[in-house]
């Protein structure tokens, strides 16, 4: 062990935990008044130029929400949220169709620059016509950028539409593809599913809509970038992805928020529908502002993500790297309905400082021969708490279903907690369920080995943690894997002690 004095010096050097996306963009905003009532919902619906049926759908959700109470069971603990003290709609004022970069609000441009989105792509993001052709050498990733309550821009629409793929903000989809939206919206996560999904259904402002037609392999990665900017707002985005028979899509989600003293709410709903032989890969790098070193501020991330494998042999794979948010409360789930359908969940959750994460998955096996794999890696440091909470349920019709679960926790320091709460329910004798979990710390031997070869303690920990998470990180698409590795390193800075 190193001497405490050395450790203290090291700790001091690393504080405060740098959150480099913590800046705020000064931009003219169009905001709805604070509070939540039917008028606000009507206002959101009107701003979005929504049809009547959508407004009714929202109002129904609002009525359901009024009858519900916030869930208390998660091991997170936070002061009560005043749902009337939030702006439910905030959008940057956009001039109509800027023709060149000069016309775009320079503040908005600077935001993208700071977020590290490459120049050419940025041109597209701000809505500049013709920039798409300029982006010739860039890896093909189509991006939908959501800034507070609205989608700022969606790239590569043309290329995608050639393949028949629909990728647009959900507000556009409601207008342009009402039949598809009507059919699938709320079919996986109904309005009244839980407190936050009801809230989201009532006030959701934007998000992405993806439809992959039969037999199409989406020609590029699709990506959404969420950014909360305005003060006192909540972000409620809604994503709906439908993969029709024999189609394939890979979708990435990223997010950041400015550094603030107060807590902000993010309550998203993501619905995936996979039909026969379809494959959806959904990857998330969640990097909301986690609060400062004393646990002040940060995002409350209460998210409902669920996938339905409706057709035979459908496959859904969730991969998530959770490093941000003051509180995370998130269980990407799979309903394995189709015969032989497959659900996968790969997760790395890192908590540091005063962060609290309660995350995991639900695998509901309904159909015959369904399979699920859960691989969850949890790393706790500082004064944080992280919990893996997962459910594996085998229903009587799920003959020969199979599940394998592995949860490993790594503790760094003696002030943090790591918890594992698996729920295993089986009503079927032909199924096989295996669950294993371990909790340990980084071994002195491994640290010594690395340090002896000239790595600093920080680097050594980074290396060991990356090795610990390797099985999950390798599931991420290339572009994200690198980012995720760096994120892990940054998140754990200042945790050695």
């Amino acid at each position: 062990m190193t001497k405490p004095t050395q450790d203290e010096a090291l700790l001091k050097q690393l504080e405060p935990n740098a959150y480099k996306w913590g800046f705020e963009t000064q931009i003219e905003m169009d905001m709805a008044p604070k509070g939540l009532n039917e008028d606000i919902i009507r206002l959101i619906s009107a701003r979005k130029e929504e049809p009547e049926w959508m407004l009714e759908w929202r109002l129904k959700a609002y009525q359901l929400w009024l009858t519900m109470t916030p869930p208390q069971w998660a091991k997170v603990g936070h002061p009560e949220i005043d749902f009337q003290d939030l702006h439910y709609y905030a959008a940057p004022k956009k001039k109509k169709g800027p023709k060149s970069l000069d016309e775009v609000d320079p503040e908005l441009l600077r935001t993208y620059e700071k977020l590290g989105i490459p120049l050419k792509e940025r041109a597209i993001l701000a809505g500049v016509e013709g920039a798409e052709e300029m982006a010739d050498n860039h890896p093909p990733v189509a991006i939908d950028a959501v800034f507070d309550s609205v989608s700022v821009a969606t790239t590569f629409k043309e290329t995608l539409s050639k393949a028949g793929v629909i990728f647009c903000p959900i507000s556009e989809a409601i207008r342009d593809y009402p039949e598809l939206v009507k059919k699938y919206l709320g079919s996986v996560v109904p309005q009244g599913d839980n407190f936050y999904s009801a809230l989201n259904s009532a006030v959701f402002t934007d998000g992405s809509f993806v439809y992959i037609p039969k037999g199409v392999r989406c020609p590029m990665e699709l990506s959404t970038y969420f950014r909360i900017n305005a003060k006192n707002t909540g972000q409620f985005e809604r994503t709906l992805i439908i993969a029709d028979d024999k189609s394939t899509v890979s979708y990435l989600e990223g997010c950041t928020a400015p550094q603030r003293d107060e807590n902000q709410l993010h309550a998203a709903v993501v619905e995936l529908v996979a039909m026969e032989d379809a494959f959806i890969k959904y990857s998330t790098v969640q990097n909301w502002y986690p609060g400062d070193k004393d646990g002040k501020g940060g995002i409350y991330n209460f998210v409902t993500k669920r996938a339905a494998c409706r057709g035979a042999r459908a496959r859904v794979s969730w991969t998530q790297v959770e490093t941000g948010s003051a509180i995370t409360w998130k269980y990407p789930s799979c309903i394995l309905q189709g015969e032989g359908s497959i659900g996968e969940f790969y997760s790395v959750a890192v908590t540091n400082g005063h962060q609290k994460a309660d995350t995991g998955t639900k695998m509901i096996h309904i159909g015959r021969n369904t399979r699920s794999t859960i691989l969850a890696k949890t790393i706790s440091a500082g004064k944080s708490d992280s919990t893996y909470r997962g459910l594996v349920r085998m229903l009587p019709r799920a003959k020969d279903a199979r599940n394998f679960t592995e949860c490993d926790s790594l503790l760094i320091g003696d002030q943090c907690g790591a918890h594992t709460v698996p729920y295993i329910e089986s009503q079927n004798s032909s199924v096989k369920i295996e669950h294993e979990a371990t909790t340990s710390k980084i071994s002195e031997e491994q640290l010594f080995y690395c340090q002896q070869r000239g790595l600093s303690k920080e680097e050594a920990i980074g290396l060991i943690v990356n090795g610990f998470c390797k099985d999950v990180l390798k599931e991420l698409p290339m572009e994200f894997a690198v980012e995720a590795q760096q994120l892990l390193q940054i998140s754990l800075e200042g945790s050695v002690g």
Binding site: L411, A418, T420, E425, S426, Q427, V431, K432, K441
Partner: protein
């Protein structure tokens, strides 16, 4: 039997509490009655009752039990205890319908330990407000049996039997309490048998304090009547270097719930819990444990096996809690379930809650049917299907009782598992 539908004003709890109305309330009992009067029956929405439904409780009218027929007790003892030379020689405590049967209880004169019977319910570990069933025990119990093994005394093995007998009208309930204190460097081994006939409800609470360097082994056979309801709460506190081992076989009861709370309060203490739930018909059995590592250098392991046939329902909720101070903890938890029928159901929740970093904690859970390959292996060697099945089931459970130190207990529990496995499957 008198049944009330839910929502009717005479609920199960009300009929129970009416039995203690107007009694001179000792402080603990008073607290418990107050707690119960102000609380509702736990439902499946309560996290720790998530998988076990107590609705039956409100569907019964609870009544005072009839006096025990000595004849019944005599017959049971002759058949099950006196016939076995090993068991009949043990100092024994015989209870029937919650009452101590003094004429059969040789333990009362046993020199290896001190017995005191107190005419109220008291305890130090399980508080009246701690949970519903414990509170019920405080409220309804009439006496506390205090068993003490003095310092450095090796008390050997004692036999504890509780027999329950149901009656025609209403549901009789028995809320007895046993407090065991094993002082420094002392030793005690207990064999407990629960048996009976008819429909009744037992709700004992047992508290065990194991002193520094002391050794306690607790072998329990739950073989109650298949119409009976059994809840049992066990609270254990371990001092430094104390050693605790429990073996539990649960196969009786229509409904059972065994709660085990172990607090490791002294360094280098060691707790081990091995259990087998072997269920058939429409039985429901639940084992809920909380192992709390509160100081450094303690070790615990839990191993729970379920063999479920017919429409039975097995539940295991196990929790390992490691306090921030409890560095160098070594905790292991294993839960296995063998489903022999498509209507059987298993719900398991092995939980880790860890606040210390220098620990080794792991848990594992498996659910499955008998392995086809293993069956094939045996059958290819000329062993008929039924026998091959028995061999595999035996192998599955044998391990759970293999480590019992006490030879008499080992023999008894093995017989209870092994012999019957062969009988009721062929």
């Amino acid at each position: 039997m008198h049944k009330n539908s839910e929502g009717n004003s005479v609920t199960g709890l009300a009929s129970l509490l009416s039995q203690v109305k107007g009694k001179d309330n000792h402080s603990e009992q008073g607290k418990a009655i107050a707690f119960l009067s102000g609380s509702e029956l736990p439902t499946r929405r309560t996290e720790i009752w998530k998988y076990t439904d107590l609705r039956w409780f409100n569907q019964h009218e609870f009544v005072q039990s009839n006096p025990v027929k000595t004849q019944q007790v005599q017959e049971w003892l002759e058949k099950n205890v006196f016939s076995s030379p090993a068991l009949s020689e043990l100092p024994r405590l015989i209870m029937a319908n919650g009452q101590i049967m003094k004429e059969y209880s040789t333990l009362l004169e046993y020199s290896g330990c001190q017995i005191a019977i107190k005419e109220d319910v008291h305890g130090s570990l399980g508080q009246p407000q701690r949970d519903f069933m414990t509170a019920l025990n405080y409220a309804m119990g009439q006496q506390t049996l205090q068993l003490t093994v003095s310092k450095a005394q090796h008390a050997g093995t004692v036999l504890f039997v509780h027999l329950g007998y149901g009656q025609d009208a209403g549901l009789a309930s028995f809320h007895y309490r046993l407090n065991i204190e094993i002082q420094e460097q002392a030793q005690l081994s207990v064999i407990e048998i629960n048996a009976g006939s008819g429909e009744y409800f037992t709700n004992p609470v047992c508290e065990v304090t194991v002193g520094s360097g002391a050794d306690f082994e607790y072998n329990k056979l739950l073989n109650s009547s298949l119409e009976s309801y059994n809840c049992a709460n066990l609270y254990v506190s371990l001092a430094d270097h104390a050693k605790y081992r429990q073996f539990l076989i649960s196969k009786g009861s229509k409904f059972s719930r065994q709660e085990v709370y172990i607090d490791m309060n002294g360094e280098w203490s060691n707790a081990s819990f091995q259990a087998v739930q072997k269920l058939g018909d429409r039985q429901h059995a639940d084992i809920t444990t909380v192992f709390s590592h509160l100081v450094p250098h303690c070790q615990s392991d839990q191993n729970v096996k379920n063999i479920l046939s017919d429409q039975s329902h097995g539940v295991f909720q196990g929790k390992v809690f490691v306090h921030q101070k409890a560095q160098k903890t070594n905790a292991q938890q294993q839960n296995q379930a063998l489903l022999l029928s498509d209507q059987a159901e298993i719900n398991t929740k092995p939980e880790l809650e860890i606040y210390a970093d220098d620990v080794k904690c792991s848990h594992g859970a498996t659910v499955g049917a008998l392995d086809e390959d293993q069956l094939f292996f045996l059958m290819a060697r000329g062993i008929p299907y039924d026998q091959a099945r028995d061999i595999l089931i035996n192998a599955f459970v044998a391990q759970a009782v293999e480590d019992i130190d006490d030879p008499i207990a080992k023999q008894l529990l093995k017989e209870q598992l092994g012999v019957e496995v062969v009988e009721d499957i062929t």
